[in-house]
Subunit: 287 residues, 2 copies
């Protein structure tokens, strides 16, 4: 039997993202042992029942001791803190990576605190569903999606190569770029849309001229369109604040685009609106 | 057998909306005969094959001659014109209604041109799918949705009662209101969301710092969220221009809401963002 890519893998946070990754690596025989680390024992037990992890612990010390690769798959606001607390227990040469959907603040902070014995590769597989927890994990989650890696100046080349291979095993397309590029792309395709959806629902719900919320009149289109406004307020608060610079730029560009459309409507510029909507439809249909 | 609600029904435009309505009235035995009127013979033939209509014609004169109720189910920009050309062929006391998603401009214009022998009841069943044409019609389309009727000062009470009963047969919840209320509600739940989606796709697609469109990085959430940006540019140009007053007000309210969020992000106001996102999530979850 071939040597697996990773001998011992520790997953901090065995949910949809971390659980699906572990599941794939185990299925492909590319990991020797998977140790789940987390706070909720029920979820960890369930992950073990499902065969996603081999064993689990609530202790960073115990779980990180022999790990060759550590995947931090927890909410963005806690990633740096957990790395700071956990790195003392890791062995020389261990590789740390994460799946957080912002990178700038995380990579900068980890670079400042990281023990020189260790490597850190910022990572962000762009995938997800509405569900969470080990029960939601499935082996096709990353199939066909993109996974962005953002090594910093201090990242080790071999470590980058290992993390790249790890994500390629999930059938994601791996792209390496700097943190600013990542944060700009994610502000555009994910963070701005959430702001846009939250603001839309609040605007519509804020109209109080009728006896009932006019959301009651909405049909399927509105419900689909605003589904992302049901996302976790806590998670999106953290993402917005951690990707502030890129997000503020995008909000400004977006408000300017809305302003152009407003002018066209106000001036009965049917030709302009038509061209504008067609450009949008073509771009959307090309996805 | 009971007398049906409508003896002869003419449907101008036998597509998703008009076709589904005719299908339900026939299934329930509440219409004596359904005449389909349209430009595309293929679609009319298909509607007849499917049993949605009893016969069809491309001639307004022929199709409207004996109709008791005429449902105009064509794009908003053509409704007034078709009523203007067709009313001379209608018999005394015939009732005209429409399914257009703007009402103010249509009701105002019809009131100005309408022959005193006839009644007009503005109508808008809030339902739809991505599909169009007679093939897309199905009897459950209006089930549980709202149908707004906007009678004008000149509308006959009995005519309103007939159109109300007609829509209640589709299991829609019928609500009667004035045109301004309708146009404000629709601007909020439908027209603004389309503007928001078109502007979002254009903003994201307009970022040219990378070798490829960053839309390529988008995952399922973005695709769902922007699906309505694939809607017909022509149709949405017409709707925007015909509901200009209400839509401009809503765009302004929306940009102001976005501005509040921008300020909170810029000032690291995590508490404010959290409350704002929670309000939105609660409203969305209540739909």
């Amino acid at each position: 039997m071939n040597k697996p890519l990773i001998n011992k893998l520790a997953i901090i946070g065995v949910g949809l993202m971390g659980g699906s990754l572990a599941m794939i690596l185990k299925e492909k025989g590319e990991v020797g042992e998977v140790i789940g680390i987390g706070r909720g024992v029920e979820n960890l037990q369930r992950a073990q029942e499902l065969g996603i992890i081999d064993r689990y612990t609530q202790s960073l010390k115990e779980g990180l001791a022999d790990a060759d690769v550590v995947v931090v798959a927890i909410p963005v606001a806690s990633i740096v803190n957990v790395i700071e607390r956990g790195q003392q227990y890791m062995k020389d040469g261990a590789i740390i990576t994460d799946v957080g959907s912002v990178k700038g603040d995380i990579v900068k902070d980890v670079d400042m605190i990281l023990d020189g014995r260790l490597s850190f590769i910022g990572g962000h597989p762009i995938a997800g569903t509405e569900k969470s927890g080990a029960d939601a994990a499935f082996a096709e989650l990353y199939n066909g999606s993109r996974c962005i890696l953002t090594p910093s100046l201090f990242s080790d080349e071999n470590a980058l190569e290992t993390i790249k291979k790890m994500w390629e095993l999930t059938d994601a397309r791996v792209v390496v770029m700097d943190v600013e590029a990542h944060d700009k792309i994610l502000a555009a395709i994910s963070h701005l849309p959430h702001i846009v959806a939250y603001a839309l629902v609040n605007t519509v719900d804020g109209i109080k001229d009728f006896n009932e919320s006019i959301l009651k009149y909405s049909a399927g289109g509105f419900r689909d369109f605003t589904r992302i406004a049901s996302s976790s307020p806590e998670m999106w608060r953290d993402i917005c604040l951690m990707n502030k610079t890129a997000l503020l730029d995008l909000i400004d560009a977006y408000v300017s685009e809305l302003g152009n459309m407003r002018t066209m409507i106000n001036e009965d510029d049917g030709q302009g609106l038509m061209e504008n909507f067609e450009r949008s439809k073509n771009a959307r249909d090309s996805i």
